[in-house]
Amino acid sequence: MSESKKIKSSEITDERTYLNRRNFIRTGVLAGAAVATGVGYRLFNPPPPKEVVTAEIDDVIRSKPTSLKDELTSFEDITNYNNYYEFTTSKTGVASAAENFVTKPWTVSVDGLVNKPKVFGIEELLKIEQEERIYRFRCVEGWSMVIPWVGFPIKKLLDKVEPQGKAKYVAFQTFYDGSNPKGKGVNLPKGDNGMQSSLSAGIEFPYLEGLRLDEALHPLAILATGIYGKLMPNQNGAPIRLVVPWKYGFKSIKSIVRITLTDKQPITTWSRSAPSEYGFYSNVNPKVDHPRWSQATERRIGEFGRRDTLMFNGYGEEVANLYKGMDLSKFY
């Protein structure tokens, strides 16, 4: 090496400075990588959104203290953990995904085999006597809640339209963007409600459900307009939904726009999507397992262990007679 190319000793970084510099860079790399990993994690697991509290429903008839000793699930859990596939398949993501759901104006068309078909405005339905009903709610996925619904028996609505003798079933349909139900004077919210495509959800929309007429007329079956004395939050099926406490949760169809009386067993969404896994009846039954998981136990939201699932979700005394003589492992 020529003299001129030789590095002067004064130019050599002394060891301590070199090590300090290297440690500095390394600390930076470590911190940067850690933050990136952390941000990535949070992106997929965001903290719960702020709570949106809806207006109080006037003159709710409070339920009498019942034999139901189960503790109520908190408002926060009820409104931040549920399924509403039109918005997202993430149970914790529904609340924020449904934030911009416009539910005014809202109408429910009641038609089919009835003497007096009618399109009801939601205001009219809210004028029907509103009662509090504290029910167990059991999801087919194996979790459960205890929810203080507000609403009225479906019978009160059906009485107004007078079902014909031929009517054997009641079909329900959920609101879905761009799928206004047929019928005169139907006035539904327009614009981007934040709903996703059938392809993203993996099930066909609009969501459809159905009951046998005698099931629908049962006093326990209600149309719910709220929870905890307040109007139904968007994510829980605003402004009006079905609640059938002895059946798996997916039967309790949300944001109803159409109710049709028919003489044929109606198509139901989950049964159409996977007939071997979900049937028309879908009564809570610890003895009939889902093909891929057991239905014998459930996790009550707020509890750590699992508890036994009750036949008909604990409403056997009231509803078992509806299914007399039926093989419930066949009619699941």
């Binding site: 470590l30 990588a33 952390g38 994690y41 859990d77 596939y85 979790w143 996977a274 996790r299 707020g302």
Partner: protein
């Protein structure tokens, strides 16, 4: 600390960050309404992610020549096992209350649990033989042959993931595509080899 050691330290710390978040959120009650389900799902997905990162080491070396990565592979594989064990422990304690007969009947009756359990059991010999001493004792060839089990484990893990979905298969499909690329690269390499030999002959 030399560079290789620092890289290991870097991976070690980063791999613990998801666990740190999980424990933090658990402690401050931020795991949502169903913390057990969240913990189970997250540790399961982390297991799959670490299996995939481990499987990415060889393609990345072959394509980009990042040979240093081989020194990190053992740790990545062990993290996959680590999160898999947490996944199983969470299931056994909180989902089955350590009831052995309930777990056994679950494995027997639920194919998706049987498949997941098989994948985890197959990871045990790989974790046990991950030390330098064991590699020597087995001999490199046998060791490499044994560790091919990771391909089976990855596929079983993916089936396990598919099987628990109700209708939305976005993430399972995404994971399947990633695994197809990772395994496809290996198949491609094998197909490539004989050609070279033929040309030489």
């Amino acid at each position: 600390m030399n560079d290789a050691k620092f890289n290991k330290f870097l991976v070690f710390i980063n791999s613990l960050i998801p666990l740190a978040f999980l424990l933090w959120d658990w402690f401050f009650n931020q795991l949502g309404a169903n913390p057990i389900e969240f913990f189970l799902r997250t540790t399961g997905i982390l297991t799959l992610i670490f299996i995939f990162i481990t499987l990415a080491v060889t393609p990345l070396r072959q394509i980009f020549g990042w040979n240093q990565l081989i020194k990190l592979r053992r740790m990545l594989g062990l993290y996959a096992f680590f999160y898999g064990v947490i996944h199983l422990v969470t299931y056994s304690i909180f989902d089955k209350s350590l009831d052995v007969s309930a777990i056994v009947s679950d494995i027997w009756q639920r194919p998706f649990i049987a498949v997941g359990m098989t994948a985890l059991v197959l990871m045990i010999p790989l974790a046990v033989t991950s030390t330098n001493g064991m590699i020597k004792r087995l001999g490199g060839k046998n060791w490499a042959r044994l560790h091919k089990l990771i391909y089976v484990i990855a596929i079983l893990g993916l089936i396990h993931y598919f099987w628990i979905q109700k209708s939305d298969y976005f993430y399972p499909i995404l994971f399947a595509i990633i695994l197809a690329v990772l395994l496809g690269h290996r198949v491609y390499k094998i197909m490539e080899k004989p050609k070279v030999q033929r040309q030489k002959a």
